[in-house]
């Protein structure tokens, strides 16, 4: 049986760990709040952007072609494609957040396997960058420290690079794998196509225009030009949204992980304290017996 001193040391060490996990949980909760606010703040923009894009896509259907849009015939309309697909893997910059990073990485690997040799990874976040570099997966590149200061400019830069590579014909499609924030307790790994933009994506909610009267808008400049201006923004915004979702999901995952770590530490402390008290009592009992039997021997 472990000595009393050893037990006391272990209890102290577990308590220290518990304090750390508790602090991390609190920090994650605060950051989660901020990340959620950031997501909420993008809602009005998202709604308006969708509305305007919907109008345009509906009006211009069949008339306007844009390199970022799906060719009307379908994905592989016989064009000389590069046969390559770019996969944006969004992980966190740090660990200690449960299976958050592992889930995304596993999903990315599955999808890469499906793509055969045609997939290339752009890792966003330190974790994924390290993971895929060690694995030797085909990579386009990696962005590190992305989430330290996540702002719109980050998404703009990424979108510019990705859109350019796509329009230049380097890739046939661009996908993103990321953790979608559903609630504090659950995140879902999501696999989403960013490019080419499917017309259906843009006009997803047919019911949205259910008010019947499709107004006759005046366009300045032409529909096509507006669409040209709008689609790159649409892509940027999608990427921004994906990053924000992942950020919120990461904090939520960390919060949950640290919460259960704190609970586990508490249970361990209880068990160790019980053991400690038992051995202490056993020691006292032994000592008492020794004293009593010693006294008895003297009397006798």
């Amino acid at each position: 049986m472990a000595s009393l001193i050893d037990l006391r040391r272990r209890i102290r060490s577990v308590k220290n760990t518990q304090q750390i996990t508790k602090a991390m949980k609190m920090v994650a909760a605060a950051k989660l709040r901020r990340a959620q606010d950031q997501i909420l703040a993008t809602r009005p923009y998202a709604l308006e952007l969708r509305k305007v894009t919907e109008h345009l896509a509906a009006v211009s259907a069949g008339e306007v072609e844009h390199p970022l849009l799906t060719p009307a015939g379908g994905d592989d309309g016989g064009e000389a494609g590069s046969g390559k697909t770019l996969v944006l893997v969004v992980t966190g910059d740090k660990g200690l957040c449960g299976a958050f990073n592992a889930h995304v990485q596993r999903r990315a690997e599955q999808e890469m396997a499906t793509l055969g040799g045609g997939g290339e990874i752009l890792a966003l976040g330190n974790r994924g960058a390290d993971f895929f570099t060690h694995r030797g997966s085909p990579m386009r590149g990696a962005r590190r420290g992305l989430f330290k200061d996540l702002h719109y400019g980050v998404a703009q830069e990424l979108a510019a690079e990705v859109s350019k590579a796509f329009s230049d014909g380097e890739y046939d499609a661009v996908y993103a794998v990321y953790n979608e924030f559903i609630s504090v307790l659950s995140q879902r790994v999501s696999w989403e196509r960013l490019l080419p933009i499917a017309r259906e994506d843009v006009v997803a909610e047919e019911g949205g225009a259910a008010d019947g009267d499709h107004r006759d808008y005046l366009y300045e400049p032409s529909e096509a030009e507006i669409l040209n201006d709008l689609l790159p923004r649409f892509v940027t915004f999608q990427i921004y949204r994906v990053l924000l979702e992942s950020q919120a999901a990461e904090h939520a995952a960390r919060m949950t992980a640290m919460d259960s770590a704190t609970k586990n530490a508490g249970e361990l402390i209880d068990a160790l304290t019980l053991q400690y008290n038992r051995s202490r009592q056993a020691e006292i009992t032994t000592e008492l017996i020794e004293v009593v039997s010693g006294a008895n021997a003297l009397e006798g």
């Binding site: 993008t42 009005p44 923009y45 509305k51 109008h55 345009l56 005046l218 030009e225 507006i226």
Partner: protein
């Protein structure tokens, strides 16, 4: 006469939602003035100066906007832009420094890079202009 409802949204927040009697927008092809009863319109915006006359009187207000879009329908003007700064929130000196730095960068940049920088320079210039309106 019914007024106009102006909604200004950036990707980070809903900056404005006000009643006003007229709105001036920096359209891609030229400035536009919107009055109540304007026909439905969708237009792109260049970096520039958005102005409006609040319905409750008072001075005309100015906002520097980055490139974006506007939609006019049912006497509601919705403006989407990447960044927007109301005149009273702009630090004129800082805006001027930023403009000068960007302009210098623009001058050094190659032809291809200039295309990407143009909007940023114009946005910075718009901020300087708008700051001078207060």
């Amino acid at each position: 006469m019914a007024g106009l409802n102006l909604i200004l949204v950036t990707h980070a927040e809903k900056l404005l939602e006000v009643e006003c009697s007229d709105v001036g927008l920096p359209g891609r092809k030229g400035d536009m003035g919107i009055l109540p009863g304007h026909t439905a319109l969708i237009s792109t915006l260049r970096p520039g100066e958005l102005s409006y006359q609040p319905a409750d009187g008072g001075a005309r207000r100015f906002v520097a906007v980055a490139p974006g879009f506007c939609e006019v329908a049912d006497d509601t003007v919705t403006v989407l832009t990447e960044t927007a700064a109301p005149a009273e929130n702009i630090d004129a000196a800082a805006a001027r420094t930023e403009r000068d730095e960007l302009a210098a960068e623009y001058d050094r940049a190659s032809f291809e890079e200039q295309a990407g920088l143009k909007d940023r320079v114009d946005t910075a210039q718009a901020r300087v202009d708008v700051a001078g309106r207060v």
